[in-house]
């Protein structure tokens, strides 16, 4: 049972890691939690559903369309809801309310137009269990973990090696100096949101395949916030590690203690970390911008 729990934890953790990286990307530049990220993931999931189920596209094509679609939506979200607040340096409370408003708007837009029925993804991967070390893992789960890691690795390479990536890293340290050095912060922030959106699209399509597409599926993003804190706010590799650790810990708590208190455990862990170890494992705790 120990190994099975571990494998399950890794499968869940893979998705957490993906979401946590997307979330951390925005957090490290703008120093605020994008509460509307959950809705972008949800919309990505619906885009994926329509591509696969209604338009009958093949999986790779659907994946690319979802990634681009979610990226674009995330970018729109920034432009409409956050850019004007950012320009006039509004307090963080306003950002949060705007994010919350966006998320209510998008979620209920889906309810009103598409309806609250649960959209089932067609079975792309065979419903089979692969056996490793006497434990089972679904084919989809294995694929999701591998793909997530590939995506994160590509992102990491982009951020560390390319010029834009360097600009992003610079902006996360000090956006003002970055601008003085000639970086167009507006375009950069837009790009960061597109990247976050791409990751959201991947998360969305895998969540949809694993479970289903439904309007309130974004709730799982709360785990991304916790994973980001575990790994360290503002650190992308930290987000990955945090996601995996959270997934595994939750799995063990579910099995060995009780699955009912699993979420309470995660949130309590969050509060304990913020009280005693706010920088997490790899990060630096950013004080509230004054």
């Amino acid at each position: 049972m120990f190994f099975q729990t571990l494998i399950t934890g890794l499968a869940v953790g893979g998705i957490y890691a993906l979401m946590a990286v997307g979330y951390s990307l925005v957090f490290s530049i703008l120093n605020f939690s994008n509460f509307a990220y959950a809705s972008i993931i949800m919309l990505g999931s619906y885009i994926g559903y329509y591509c696969l189920a209604k338009f009958g596209l093949s999986f790779p094509v659907a994946l690319v369309v979802t990634m681009l679609g979610a990226g674009f939506l995330c970018f729109l979200n920034e432009r409409i809801a956050y850019s004007s607040l950012r320009k006039r340096k509004a307090p963080s409370l306003y950002f949060m309310i705007s994010a919350m408003g966006t998320s209510i708007f998008l979620e209920n837009m889906v309810y009103a137009t598409i309806g609250s029925s649960f959209m089932a993804y067609p079975e792309i991967f065979k419903q089979k269990a692969l056996h490793i070390f006497n434990s089972a893992i679904g084919v989809l789960d294995l694929f999701a973990i591998i793909f997530s890691f590939v995506a994160i690795f590509v992102l990491h390479y982009f951020i560390s090696a390319s010029r834009t990536g360097i600009a992003i890293r610079a902006a996360s340290y000090d956006s003002l100096i970055c601008q003085i050095n000639g970086v167009n912060l507006n375009i950069l922030i837009g790009l960061v949101f597109v990247l976050a959106g791409i990751l959201a699209g991947i998360s969305g399509i895998f969540l949809g395949m694993k479970y289903m597409a439904y309007p309130t599926m974004g709730w799982i993003t709360n785990k991304a916030y916790i994973a980001a804190v575990i790994g360290g706010l503002g650190s992308l590799p930290g987000a990955v590690v945090g996601g995996i650790i959270l997934g595994v810990l939750e799995s063990f708590v579910s099995v060995y203690i009780s699955s009912i208190i699993r979420d309470v455990f995660s949130f309590s862990l969050l509060i304990l970390l913020l009280l005693f170890l706010p920088a997490g494992l790899f990060g630096r705790y950013l004080e509230e911008k004054v």
Binding site: Q4, A11, A120, S259
Partner: protein
Amino acid sequence: MKKKLLILSLILVFALTMTACGSSQPQTIKIGHAVALTGGSSMWGQAEKNALEMEIDKINKAGGVLGKKLELVAYDTKAEQTEAVNITKRLAGDKVVAIIGPGQSGVAIAMTSVTETAGVPFVATTATNPKVTVDDTTNKVRKTAFRTCFIDPFQGTVAAQFALKDLNATKAAVLFDVGSDYSQGLRQYFVEAFTDGGGTIVADEAFRSEELDYRAILGKIKDKKPDVLFIPTMQKEAAMAMKQAKDLGMNVKFLGGDGWASPDLITLGGTATEGAYYVNLASLADPAIQDWIKAYKEKYNMEPVMPNPVMAVDGLLAVVDAIKKANSTEPAKIIEQLGKTKDLPVLSGKLTIDPNTHNPLNKPAVIETIKDGKFAFHARFVTTD
């Protein structure tokens, strides 16, 4: 800007008063319908409304009741207790003679406080919790609460006996939703009946409402090697559980309750649902209702999502019969006659209401299974008490 807004809000308050006093047509008998038209249960709610409208059309074409035409007044409960209380008050204000619905037990119990005060009877369609009709603190039946479906103790017993006898199970595991009163109740009755019948419950795991990932606890259940996995939840959670159990390579028979009865179960669960069994109130394959199903398909261009529409029509026929027997549309008289309903021919067979509990007597349960990606009738079950 501010001035306009203040005036706007005052207008809204007046508008509320105005719209609430709606126009009334004295020549129709109003039948209320408390139904979940939006939200997760909307497919059943919509089916109920369609079926009722179809049936009322039929009755009106044949001359109506007591010389008057029937009129359906339906409001959306959203499957929420607060909303249900509001619309029940509105229905009482609209002067309905009876209310059909709701389909959820929690909502029904919330409505009772209003219906008992207003004196308007309601006939629940698929609310299976025993507490809907019988107040468990006083153990007395609620005057205005009726239903046309079986209750959870019966359903749990049917499931348990089916597992013991037909599936030859000696070890059962249960996976239930801790936040749903339906799930908790059904689980309780299944566990009691299964252990009474000689079986052992090897695992009894709970998850929180809205949670869709049970892989961790399924791993725990897998270790205990049960013969049967009983999942007394709604279709969405059950489909996920079955899919994930298959992902883990579990080889068990899946068993469930009437919450599974929706085509969603198969679309969401895919091939994992093949060969699963569940208890239902009415079956699409029932020969007695094939004509009705055909009429429904013709009118609405889709198959009725069972079992709610059948239960709703049963309820309507009971109310119509009570009106005829009482020869009046006074709710108090209708209540009296509803309690005396005996052998009334309804869509699902013959309806007899037990005057002590307001529950239908001798209601059989249907066991359905999933074969080749479709629901298939498996057996009709009557428990051995």
